[in-house]
């Protein structure tokens, strides 16, 4: 921090301005950086790497399921692979994806801050994440874990394999998530630019803020649950083990106290990205700003009250089921409000279908399906039939993948010019988006149908009558996989350009991250930016970057 102000230049000459990418580029500088933008990029690289590992595993699973007989992996291997797919996607990819990667990069910029509140904690969070990832990889190398990512007892306390190591990896990853959450809450409270009140925050900040609150309040319970499970496994402490008088259903309560709010850790940031993209590409102020902001917070809050809807068949009491089901439906309302508000924002707008907007529209349709199919699962009698079938698998993939991942991709396409100052080939990026959309629907619409027909999840083999759906789903997964690889290729190939050709504000956004140059300088802004207009006020012209670096 000693050099905090040493690199500021006010020359205004045609010399290219040093930015956060070009200043201090040694490996050591990168590995010990406390710059939120670099940490965001490092997180982005890490989570994308795990996304492709998890995705490759998913393709293997789908390939094995092409026929009901054994194709190339036996059932024990299959169990380990689906556990791995789930654990990697949930703990190593989707939970850190938007908050830790994009949030880290964008949030301080949006607030007009120089960094997050605790930059060193941010770095620690990244290394704790790496430690957790290494532990998870060690568990895989040490024989693999076959418990499912949910670690239900008593299976998880009795099965062989390095379950303890995997659970401790989850514990460690939880702390990475907590550190990020603490950082963001404090940042939003204390580092807003002068003039920026709570209701001048961009909606992305509201979403990330609500997410961060859940990360702080729910994740410790995951930690202690993992510890209790490991203790039960190692020392037979008698809390979850039925043979010792414990209660296996209690584990599910503990687990879902975290893991249901975790669903909102995953989806709220996705919604937050969409709330940024839609007004910008409709060139119209967001409709119902407060409703969207409050709905984020109320989703986060109600999200804590509904975890038992994962347990309607578990043997919990009817009273508990009724309470949980009732509250579950209350979550539908704020989620619905967001969709209506987005549509209302588009109404009478000036809509430009650039790549991020294409992703946003794709999100809108897929998330609508994901959300609406939740209505089946909240109705207890229908859920009894659908629970633990592919219907549930399809439902949460529509929300997680069709929702969060699509929004994440949209966000990457939206902030890519900000991150690297370079524009990708939009035509190819649009094609990739379409391929992803089609492949995704082919994969998971089939799963809705086979699920409600009675195909249970986590099945290595299945009744012949389900094969036609499995074939369709597997073919869809190839299309989807191809689309994702293509999208990655389009983005990465843009980095080979020599020039920063994106301009500082290519989309005409009005939020503060676009008021600095692209890519931003190390300390984000020349001086302290001041809020001059609301985040979606398109009556004013976009504010030019604070410094003219000779590139205009």
């Amino acid at each position: 921090m000693a050099n905090a102000t040493s690199t500021h230049t006010h020359t205004g000459t045609s010399q290219p301005q040093l930015n956060y990418l070009t200043e201090n580029t040694s490996l050591k500088d990168w590995l010990t950086t406390i710059d939120h933008k670099r940490l965001g990029l490092m997180y982005l690289a890490a989570v994308m790497a795990f996304f492709f590992v998890g995705g490759a595993l998913a393709l293997l699973l789908r390939l094995e399921l092409l026929t009901p007989k054994q194709d190339f992996m036996d059932s024990a291997t299959y169990n380990k692979v689906f556990t791995l797919h789930g654990a990697i996607m949930v703990f190593l990819f989707i939970i850190p994806s938007v908050p830790a990667a994009l949030g880290n990069f964008v949030l301080p910029l949006m607030l007009g801050a120089k960094d997050v509140a605790f930059p060193r904690l941010n770095l620690a969070s990244f290394y704790v994440y790496c430690l957790g990832a290494i532990m998870a990889l060690a568990a895989i190398i040490g024989g693999g874990v076959d418990t499912g990512w949910t670690f239900y007892t008593p299976y998880s306390t009795t099965t062989d394999g390095p379950v303890g190591l995997m659970a401790m990896a989850v514990f460690v990853l939880g702390f990475s998530s907590i550190f990020t959450g603490i950082n963001f809450v404090a940042t939003v409270h204390k580092l807003r630019a002068p003039g920026m009140g709570w209701f001048q925050l961009p909606l992305f900040v509201w979403g990330i803020y609500a997410t961060a609150l859940i990360q702080v309040l729910a994740t410790p319970v995951l930690g202690i649950t993992a510890v209790l499970m490991v203790m039960e496994r190692a020392f037979h402490i008698g809390i979850f083990d039925a043979r010792l008088g414990g209660d296996p259903v209690l584990f599910q309560h503990f687990f879902w106290f975290y893991s249901h709010p975790a669903v909102y850790i995953m989806i709220l940031p996705g919604m937050a990205i969409i709330s940024e993209i839609i007004p910008v590409f409709s060139k119209k102020t967001v409709f119902g700003y407060r409703a969207i902001g409050f709905s984020s917070v109320s989703i986060a809050f109600i999200g804590f009250l509904v975890w038992g809807h994962h347990m309607f068949t578990s043997g919990q009491s009817d009273l508990a089921s009724a309470i949980f089901a009732f509250l579950t439906y209350l979550v539908a309302i704020p989620s619905g409000i967001k969709i209506w508000n987005w549509l209302a924002t588009m109404y009478q707008g000036s809509i430009e279908m650039r790549t991020p907007m294409l992703y946003a529209m794709s999100f809108l349709l897929l998330f609508a399906i994901g959300g609406l199919t939740g209505l089946y699962l909240g109705a207890i009698s229908v859920d009894i039939h659908l629970h633990d079938t592919y219907f549930v698998v399809a439902h949460f993939h529509y929300v997680m993948m069709g929702g969060t991942v699509i929004a994440f991709l949209g966000g990457i396409h939206y902030w890519w010019p900000k991150m690297f100052g370079k524009m990708y080939n939009e035509k190819l990026a649009d094609i990739a988006c379409w391929i992803i959309f089609i492949g995704f629907n082919v994969t998971f619409l089939n799963q809705f149908m086979m699920g409600s027909q009675g195909m249970p999840r986590r099945y290595w083999t299945y009744l012949d009558e389900f094969q036609r759906y499995h074939i369709g789903s597997t073919i869809g997964s190839w299309i989807l996989g191809f689309g994702l690889v293509m999208a990655a290729g389009v983005l990465l190939s843009s980095l080979r350009k020599k020039e920063y050709d994106a301009g500082d504000n290519p989309w005409g956004s009005r939020t503060m991250e676009w008021e600095t140059i692209s890519p931003p300088i190390t300390h984000n802004f020349e001086g302290q930016p001041v809020l001059r207009h609301g985040p979606y006020d398109f009556r004013v012209e976009p504010t030019p970057a604070t410094v003219a670096g000779g590139r205009h």
Binding site: A117, G223, L228, G238, L244, F254
Partner: protein, 226 residues
Amino acid sequence: MSSHAITADHEAHGHGHHDPNLQHHFAEMGQQFECSKIGMWLFLATEVLLFGGLFVGYGLMQGQHPEAFKSAHHHLDWRMGALNTIVLLISSFTMVMAVWSAQTNNQKALIRNLILTIGCACTFMVVKYFEYSHKYHEGLLPGAFYSYTGPHQNAEFVFFSFYFMMTGLHGIHVTAGIVVLCYLLYRAKQGAYNSSYYTPIDLTGLYWHLVDLIWIYLFPLFYLIS
């Protein structure tokens, strides 16, 4: 809103009398202090919920085996628990006095109070050591290690599972507190803290009071249920 316009140079370079403890991304010390405090309280929230999982587990298991829990608590000596409670309460007092000393620029009192706090914490751990070794010799150990041969109820081992997990986790926190306090003492002797910069003392104080606060609940739950 434009009335808030402050130029960059004014903020970043203008005053020329920067506190060396001010980090680059904060405008002034008050902001930095409040920010650290919010961060600390959020951290304490995670601590509460981490322990909370064990409290909830204890409460529900107590409901399932009330008789066993009742008979098991007779193996604990309430006098030891009460002694530790008093020791921790006094350490909380000395801790808050340490914060006060820093706020009032009383260097000597700061060092004295930190030493007293560390002393109380060590006393707590010594008492804990005697309790643990007593349990160990009787075989009153958690889960599978429970090998007590005297008269006992079926599920007593569950009580001791929770006893060791909760007091153990608490003990880890006390130990961590001792380490942090020693570091503060070392820095305080160098004169690092004064009335304009005492954030580390204040935050450690918050942490230390939380450790005390958790023990306030552990004491009646384990030593006094009847």
